[in-house]
């Protein structure tokens, strides 16, 4: 039997690690949804971000990997924005198609780049950067202050996005586009441009999330490796009540549900691991039931013909 305090600290640290890409993607999607656009293509953007991260890191190191990931995510978002905003097609179907295309393209490019042998263990990854003193704190020290740079970046981007959305004029314009596009346009807000910008920002976040997944968490790229994390991020946006801080907390909840298996293992309980694969999705669904209806979505979310 392990020391319970150490077990809790381990679970917390793992939860924060697992939550990082989800929180990043959900923060970006919060921007898009606040502007009135649901982008199911962020699953594809994340997958492309993951591949971009792997390739960038292989070519020029992990920092370049993050940059490549962001770029790849933005490119996927451009495709989605062209179809869903440019042409005004159904957002959910467009997003699904963009994700499907991303699965095909990343699978093909990946084999083209790495050959049949795959990326293996050859990519340089982002090691945890413990912050002196703080990382020695009991319980939360490791979880909050001994993480890879991507997690610190997330700590920074969440409040920054909150500030942008709720304390700046462009943030106000973005929310107006999502609440009442007609009134927003009358007030001089370029609605389509705003939505495209929000979706591209969301793509950048999703790309960064994918790169973080590869470089800070998994350490390698595999086909379809995002395994629905982009879709989970969309649920997390709702759980977080379309607020970046809420999204960060909801992502942490998902991370805890996933990391709970380490506690069970440490306690010596023999529970099939697949139950822990299901648990976060089921919890997310139940949490959605508790949240939706009590909070208001951006009024014109998902609607095109403005």
């Amino acid at each position: 039997m392990m020391d319970p305090v150490a077990v809790v600290a381990d679970v917390l640290a793992a939860a924060v690690g697992i939550a990082t890409p989800l929180a990043l993607a959900a923060t970006g999607e919060t921007l898009a949804e606040r502007s009135g656009v649901v982008n199911l293509g962020i699953e594809g953007a994340m997958l492309f971000g993951a591949l971009g991260g792997a390739i960038g890191a292989t070519v020029a190191g992990p920092a370049a990997g993050l940059g490549f990931g962001v770029l790849a995510g933005v490119l996927v978002a451009v495709l989605f924005a062209a179809v869903a905003i440019g042409a005004g097609a159904d957002q959910i179907i467009s997003g699904t198609a963009v994700t499907l295309a991303s699965v095909g393209l990343t699978g093909t490019i990946y084999r083209q780049f790495y050959g049949p042998a795959g990326v293996g263990l050859s990519i340089p990854t982002l090691a945890p950067l413990p912050i002196p003193a703080l990382s020695q704190l009991p319980l939360v020290g490791e979880a909050l202050f001994a993480q890879p740079v991507t997690t610190y970046l997330t700590f920074l981007l969440i409040p920054l996005t909150w500030w942008f959305l709720f304390r700046t004029r462009p943030g106000l314009a973005l929310r107006a586009a999502g609440e009442d596009p007609v009134a927003a346009r009358a007030a001089g807000v370029p609605v389509r441009v705003t939505r495209v910008a929000a979706v591209l920002a969301g793509g950048a976040f999703a790309g960064l999330a994918g790169a973080a997944l590869v470089l800070a968490q998994v350490g390698t790229f595999t086909e379809r490796m995002t395994a629905g994390r982009g879709f989970v991020a969309i649920a997390i946006v709702v759980l977080g009540r379309w607020n970046p801080v809420g999204a960060g907390l909801a992502a942490l909840l998902f991370g805890l549900a996933t990391a709970a298996q380490f506690a069970f293992q440490a306690a010596g309980l023999d529970v099939p691991y697949q139950l822990f694969l299901m648990l976060p999705y089921l919890l997310t669904l139940l949490a959605l039931a508790g949240v939706v209806g009590r909070v208001k979505a951006p009024a014109s979310l998902g609607r095109n013909g403005d």
């Binding site: 467009s94 963009v98 095909g104 093909t108 508790g290």
Partner: protein
């Protein structure tokens, strides 16, 4: 009729765009594109055996799930979780098929199909409750349940349903009596005929019944209602979603009782998503879904041959499928600028 012709031209154009994109991409990536496309074509249509035993076999789940997607969308709902319902159906069918040892075929076959059908519908209970009681979008809930279903398959084939030797991650083979008969001279199972019947039945329901008429009306007007948080005609919506899920569950049952004869992981190469393209390309019309299901079945069949003979990853075909969907969305949007839900409204208007 003019609408039909336009739809046919647009569909063919979308397909052509998809294939051209694939060819261009392959050329760029340094593959021999013409050899790859030739392999794709011969893998899908090269021989009678390839056509019936691979293309049409792959078309069966695509037609069934495509019909289900159309049914839900006609009711104004998006079932993006067919993959999960397919697996729920496959699990139930494999379980029933193993139990059916010693049964006569007339009992075993319907039992297996019904198990899959019901399990698929059961997989939809949570999304329907979440939608009607709590207003959670079914697109998100069905999508999340896909991952639960995949984990459940893994749990089953490594746990309670694992084959007796406990070596392989798959279920025991289903009883002989539970295996669908093959059409004479082919490797195509009788589920194909059921898929055709389902398409005919759904065409009749859409065109001739009051229920189909109301479903259409609901689908056309529901988007605005949905977004504003008001849940439209709950029972119709629930029925459309349950029917949609049951068809996906049936597809899973047929895959087990007609093709794999046991349950294992990755039984579906993404049928649930490919079928969205199948339904959209057919503009949600049941009779056209048979045709587009075969077209996408050919793509999937050809993808395997392309990987084998030309070394092109089979997943590249997803790019074609996605390009077809996107090209159609763009075409529809251009055709009816300013329309609210181009695809659904188009199909509903066209079938009237």
């Amino acid at each position: 009729m003019r609408g039909d012709f336009r739809a046919l031209v647009m569909g063919a154009a979308a397909l052509l765009i998809g294939l051209l994109l694939l060819a261009a991409g392959l050329e760029l990536a340094g593959y021999d594109a013409s050899a790859a496309l030739a392999a794709l074509g011969s893998g899908a249509f090269g021989t009678w055996q390839a056509f019936t035993g691979v293309t049409l076999v792959r078309a069966v789940p695509l037609i069934l799930i495509g019909l289900g997607f159309a049914l839900a969308l006609r009711g104004g709902a998006l079932n993006i979780g067919a993959e999960g319902q397919f697996y729920a159906g496959a699990i139930a069918a494999a379980w029933m098929g193993v139990q059916a040892a010693g049964w006569p075929a007339w009992a075993a076959l319907p039992a297996v199909a019904a198990a899959g059908w019901m399990a698929g519908a059961l997989w939809m209970v949570l999304p329907v409750v979440l939608r009607l009681r709590f207003g959670v979008l079914e697109a998100i809930s069905t999508l999340l349940l896909n991952f639960v279903a995949e984990a459940l398959v893994s749990l089953m084939v490594l746990g309670p349903m694992q084959e007796p030797t406990g070596i392989y991650p798959q279920s025991a083979p289903i009883a002989e009596a539970a295996r669908l008969p093959l059409l004479p001279g082919t490797r195509l199972h009788a589920g194909f005929l059921v898929a055709l019947l389902a398409a005919g039945g759904m065409a009749w329901v859409f065109a001739r019944t009051w229920w189909g008429f109301r479903l259409r009306a609901l689908g056309e007007g529901s988007r605005a209602a949905e977004v504003s948080g008001r849940v439209p005609a709950g029972r119709m919506l629930a029925l459309a979603l349950f029917g949609s899920a049951a068809l996906a569950g049936l597809a899973g049952a047929f895959e087990v009782s007609g093709v794999s004869y046991s349950l294992y992981q990755n039984l579906s190469p993404g049928y649930g998503f490919t079928a969205i393209g199948v339904a959209l390309l057919a503009r949600l019309r049941p009779s056209a879904i048979v045709l587009t299901g075969i077209v996408f079945g050919a793509l999937e069949a050809g993808a395997g041959a392309m990987q084998r003979d030309a070394g092109v990853p089979a997943v590249a075909v997803y790019v074609v499928e996605a390009a077809v969907i996107l090209a159609l969305l763009l075409g529809n949007a251009a055709a009816r600028r300013g329309g609210q839900r181009a695809v659904g409204a188009d199909a509903a208007g066209g079938a009237a």
